[in-house]
């Protein structure tokens, strides 16, 4: 190679004459001897925040002794978007579009918790129409199925089973077809609103749901046949990521992780909201306390959710045409949505009425859309059973048109604290399975 090339790595022989430096003297030799004497392969590895198996931008700091994990710490905050702060600068209704983006796999749960909290602050919990509550239940259970499908699907893919992922996502698409038909959007719906829901569930959506439910059930069955007794799945998941009931209680773990330790705690049964007490379903538990138990809990919960979906659809068909928004015009969003040639938008009848016939209706529309409604001062905490555990919403109002403080107790945020206790002492490969069994979604963890 010519000497005048500008390559960074030149030929080695060019430097043969240059002096060689050695580090010696002082206590350096002692240090080296000490390190060699330990005969340890102790290394600290940063897994993530860009590792494909860590469910988004989760950073796991692993201390490894060979292939064994001796210490684990989870580093979060890489997806912090300041949603809670932003909500303080938006009206109560606008807040729905923010909190729906927290845990992006369970948008309906954040919306429901937030709206139930506003309704409790307003004191209108009893005035929410039955049909609106039934729609909320329907949407929450569909969301639970889609969230569990992603958990199982991505969890399978992280173990190397692509088919588990493709089946999971295929079935999730069916759920999304229903959600899209009802809300117009697949994710980040902003569908549940203070006082009710944004728009009605049509007969078409009901028919589509009836058509989809057996297919989803068949898909879940296929997933079950694929994984339940699969020797590789069992080899990877049985007795991995163990967390017993005592550990769950100490760490405040809720959701499928808690139920996999045998405690049938489910807020839908324990402290019902949206009329869950009138639905017929069972709380699924397992005794195995491991990742495999959580997988089975999630699979069985999807069947229970389908049962609730069927009951909700029956009720919705019977109550077609009933109100879906609270009667109080000072709170209810004035406009109805409708599907036009260019997608979803304000209903033309409503535009015609406020622009052409009633000036008072126009003023009212303008006031409630720009200014919003006022919520009496005070604070509430409302919790719903999200797909991942207890999702709590702590709202403080100072009597204004905006939340004074909105705080979400995200189940993933809390449950991620169990990473250390689940992973320490296991193999590196088990860390992936253990974290996946918690089902954290960083959008919700970091908010």
């Amino acid at each position: 190679m010519a000497a005048d090339t500008t390559h960074a790595t030149g030929a080695a022989e060019e430097y043969l004459d240059s002096p060689t430096m050695h580090v010696s003297g002082g206590d350096w030799d002692d240090l080296v001897d000490e390190a060699t004497a330990l005969h340890e392969e102790r290394i600290v590895v940063n897994m993530g925040p860009q590792h494909p198996s860590t469910h988004g931008v989760l950073r796991l700091i692993l201390e490894l002794d060979g292939e064994t994990v001796t210490e684990t710490r989870a580093g979060i905050g890489y997806l912090h978007t300041g949603i809670e702060k932003n909500m303080e600068y938006r009206t109560w209704v606008q807040g729905v579009t923010f909190c729906t983006r927290m845990d992006y796999l369970t948008p309906m749960f954040q919306e429901a918790a937030y709206c139930l909290a506003i309704e409790k602050l307003l004191g209108i919990t009893d005035q929410i129409p039955q049909r609106a509550s039934d729609i909320r239940v329907l949407m929450m259970e569909l969301t639970r199925i889609s969230s569990h499908l992603v958990c199982i699907g991505t969890g399978g893919m992280e173990m190397g089973a692509t088919t588990v992922m493709t089946v999971g996502f295929r079935e999730r698409e069916r759920v999304f077809r229903i959600i899209e038909e009802v809300t117009g959007l697949r994710m980040n719906n902003a569908y549940i609103r203070p006082g009710g829901v944004a728009q009605d569930v049509s007969q078409r959506a009901i028919d589509l749901t009836r058509e989809m439910v057996p297919e989803i059930r068949r898909g879940i069955r296929e997933l079950e046949l694929l994984v339940n007794e699969n020797p590789i799945v069992k080899g990877r998941m049985v007795d991995v990521g163990i967390l017993d009931l005592t550990g769950c209680m100490a760490l405040g773990i809720t959701g499928p992780v808690l139920r996999s330790a045998g405690l049938p705690h489910d807020l839908r049964k324990a402290a019902p909201y949206c009329g869950y007490e009138t639905y017929d379903f069972e709380v699924i538990t397992r005794e195995s306390m491991d990742a495999y138990g959580r997988l089975r809990v999630r699979l069985d919960e999807m069947y229970q959710s389908l049962r609730i979906v069927e009951q909700a659809v029956d009720r919705l068909e019977a109550s077609l045409g009933e109100p879906i928004m609270v009667a109080d015009k000072k709170i209810a969003w004035p406009a109805q949505l409708s599907v036009g040639s260019d997608g979803m938008g304000n209903s033309l009848d409503h535009i015609k009425q406020i622009m052409g016939t009633s000036m008072e209706a126009l003023i009212h529309h303008f006031k409630i859309v720009t200014e919003g409604f006022r919520v009496p001062p005070g604070q509430v905490y409302v919790a719903v059973e999200s797909a991942k555990g207890e999702l709590g919403c702590h709202l403080v109002s100072d009597g204004g048109t905006r939340p004074y403080r909105a705080h979400f107790r995200d189940p993933s945020f809390n449950n991620l604290q169990a990473t250390s206790i689940m992973c320490e002492g296991s193999q590196v490969a088990d860390v992936i399975v253990a974290v996946a069994s918690i089902d954290p979604v960083m959008g919700g963890v970091d908010r």
């Binding site: 604070q379 905490y381 204004g400």
Partner: protein, 235 residues
């Protein structure tokens, strides 16, 4: 036996707690002037201390808590500043120096058994002199039928220290870190009180009311939309 009603005499519920006042042209609820041109000044009143009976299971809960505190050698009147029952929820305002013992009684007293603390959330009231920062804990008792209570602890901005309850409720480790990160409340005794959501070298605590939201103007079809905190508000 401590006088249980010392903090809240039964015949006299507490005054509402004024956390500030609202000024502006919107939101008139009292008086004749609804035009707003007079310039409204409305006090912001949070629910004040409730009087006995609190209703439901709240009375029994407070009695058990008082007995439990007594057994631990803490006078109920010292630990609990006031009890607020509002919208079907009970809030116990606890003096910060007694928070640890209250947490322990809440968890260990068989009749209380609030085995899960669902975390701590902060609220910043710049107008409440001497009690600017509030840490608000929510507790859940699965054993006793999914009962929930709220414990509220205030501390001054100049001395933002509240004892950590991580020893009693390990689940609070991350929640207390988040509240430190967002509000600057120092939880004494926390095993590793570091920032959790913001970067380690971040200046300030973003959820405080004196911390600006930030943002840049956005141009859209020739017009400029200011950032959210500079837009016209009706609050």
């Amino acid at each position: 036996m401590t006088d249980l009603t010392q903090a809240t005499p039964p015949e006299m519920p507490g005054e509402p707690i004024v956390i500030g006042e609202r000024r502006g042209m919107f939101g008139a609820t009292a008086g004749q002037d609804t035009s707003g041109y007079g310039g409204l000044v409305v006090p912001i009143e949070f629910p004040g201390a409730s009087a006995r009976p609190y209703g439901g299971w709240f009375d029994a809960f407070i009695d058990t808590l008082a007995a439990g505190l007594e057994a631990e050698g803490t006078a109920y009147g010292d630990a609990v500043q006031m009890v607020v029952v509002d919208r079907g929820e009970i809030t116990v305002h606890v003096a910060r120096e007694h928070l640890s013992v209250v947490a322990r009684v809440l968890r260990d007293e068989p009749a209380l058994r609030f085995e899960i603390c669902t975390g701590v959330s902060g609220v910043h009231y710049p107008g409440l002199s001497g009690q600017e920062l509030h840490a608000i804990y929510h507790f859940l008792s699965i054993t006793n039928g999914s009962k929930r209570i709220r414990v509220e602890v205030g501390c001054p901005d100049a001395d933002p220290h509240i004892p950590s309850i991580v020893e009693t409720y390990p689940a609070n480790t991350w929640h207390e870190r988040e509240t430190w990160d967002m509000f600057g409340i120092i939880f004494d005794g926390h095993p590793a009180l570091t920032r959790i959501l913001m970067p380690d070298d971040w200046p300030g605590h973003p959820q405080r009311k004196d911390y600006p939201l930030g943002g840049i103007p956005v141009e859209y079809k020739g017009a400029t939309v200011p950032p959210a905190d500079e837009r016209r508000a009706f609050n």
